[in-house]
């Protein structure tokens, strides 16, 4: 049986397919970045609407919760009759999955800004938009970034599922490894996907540290 003797990694295959692997990695990053960017824009709008009209919060979060509960492959499948086996299908599905986590954390972050801080800002003459941008968002950033990190890591994992609808970047390598009696692409796709998620998570954590210097001083005794 071939499967029993095939090694986990064939380095010669990797060196011969360097360009394919790089292209898959780049596509993986592209899908993740676009889905996250679209998700952030939509989530901000939804969060602001939900905070302005509180009665909308439950239905809005309920709808993103519904999207989040539907298994990814089923969500992609629902889109197939409309957008086909295309990149758009993957991007729409991936974006939908970021909404629940991002919206919840943006609302929770903004709600967590102390009332006296808001009052002080208003007293200093801040208008509501300037107060949001200069005061509320920076203070809510740790909670929002926690959501961005979870959503990013989740999206990087979910991109692989899009391989089943003909997209999926590193997922396509995993799929190839599952379907053929040849393990190397499976291992390469899996390892790179996990590595990408860890790198992204650490990078976002560092970004938060740089963006919120005031949170570091508190740690000193």
């Amino acid at each position: 049986m071939l499967a029993a003797t095939d090694p986990w990694i064939r380095w010669d295959w990797i060196s011969r397919h360097g360009d394919d692997i790089t292209a898959a990695l780049r596509e993986h990053v592209y899908l993740t970045v676009v889905a996250m960017a679209a998700g952030l824009v939509i989530s901000f709008a939804v969060a602001l609407v939900a905070r302005r009209w509180r009665w909308l919060q439950t239905p809005l979060l309920g709808f993103s919760g519904l999207l989040y509960t539907i298994p990814s492959l089923a969500l992609f499948a629902f889109l197939l009759p409309i957008t086909g086996l295309s990149r758009s299908t993957a991007l729409i599905g991936l974006t939908s999955y970021t909404l629940l986590i991002l919206t919840r954390n943006i609302i929770a972050g903004l709600d967590g800004v102390p009332a006296d801080v808001l009052e002080a800002a208003t007293g200093m003459g801040y208008g509501s938009t300037r107060r949001l941008v200069r005061i509320e968002l920076p203070l809510a950033l740790p909670t929002i970034m926690a959501g961005i990190r979870i959503a990013t890591v989740t999206t990087i994992g979910l991109v692989t599922v899009a391989a089943l609808i003909g997209q999926g970047a590193l997922g396509a390598l995993i799929k190839e490894g599952i379907e053929r009696p040849f393990r190397t692409p499976l291992v390469v796709g899996s390892v790179l996907s996990i590595a990408l998620a860890i790198v992204a998570d650490v990078a976002l954590a560092l970004l938060l540290r740089v963006l919120t210097p005031w949170t570091r001083k508190r740690a000193a005794p």
Binding site: I70, P71, A74, F78, L85, I107, I150, G157, I194
Partner: protein, 242 residues
């Protein structure tokens, strides 16, 4: 669009789709039994682990890190690597075993971490008072810590179960059945009606799982611990791709 939905309706009312090994009842049965088995075994392994470490307040860092790495692990990769590790590729009908192992691996972390967090974050004053009243460690665990941890424990079970139902769909990519077959085979045959019908069934099964377990959670959680209001908490600590 109306025409397409009409075709989907026609698919569901076609008698042939309700019989045999590729029929809806059989696929639904496969999917449910596989999911229930995976969650049941995961509970048997994960609950004692999470509760014990939570009770001793030990190993939290390790558990949290394992669960974080778990989040980065794509389900499809777990399925593929599981199949290879078991050396069962290409054996007809053997897709079920790697699928089960993969689902089990993915079902465990949310249950362990939530049970750990639930038990270990019980107010130290409450524990102290229980001990002061003369309860033994086991009594504190059974009568104080477990009831207080129940909301989080149930939340973990819910996350885990919904995720298992979702990942069982992907297992159709291995040579296993379940409702994912309709989606995978439909894509292969470029039959969007079949794909859509499969997606509907998977979506409904996932939603039913979520709703039923939410109802169970409401029933088993002590009255005093239920929060009526719908305040968005920040991070769902157990979210992961499926």
């Amino acid at each position: 669009m109306t025409h397409f939905l009409g075709e989907v309706f026609g698919w569901f009312t076609t008698s042939a789709h309700w019989h045999g090994s590729d029929g809806i009842p059989h696929r639904m049965w496969e999917h449910s039994v596989m999911s229930i088995a995976a969650v049941a075994f995961a509970l048997a392994i994960a609950l004692p682990l999470g509760i014990w470490f939570g009770h001793r307040r030990r190993g939290g860092m390790v558990l949290m890190n394992v669960s974080n790495v778990g989040r980065a692990l794509p389900s499809l990769a777990v399925l593929g690597l599981g199949q290879e590790a078991l050396g069962l590729r290409g054996w007809p009908g053997f897709g079920a075993r790697p699928a089960f192992i993969a689902l089990l691996v993915l079902a465990i972390p949310p249950i362990v971490t939530n049970a750990y967090t639930g038990v270990s974050e019980v107010d130290p004053d409450v524990r102290e008072s229980a001990l002061g009243m003369g309860m033994t460690g086991g009594q504190v665990l059974r009568r104080v810590e477990l009831p207080l941890a129940l909301p989080l424990v149930m939340a973990g079970v819910r996350t885990s179960a919904v995720q298992v139902v979702a990942t069982a769909t992907l297992a159709a990519e291995l040579s296993w059945g379940g409702l994912g077959r309709y989606i995978i085979d439909g894509i292969g045959r470029q039959d969007n009606v079949m794909v859509f019908a499969g997606a509907l069934q998977v979506g409904v099964l996932a939603l039913v799982t979520e709703v039923v377990l939410a109802a169970v959670q409401r029933r088993v959680v002590p009255k005093g611990l239920q929060s009526g209001e719908n305040v968005p908490s920040a991070v769902p600590a157990d979210a992961r791709p499926r």
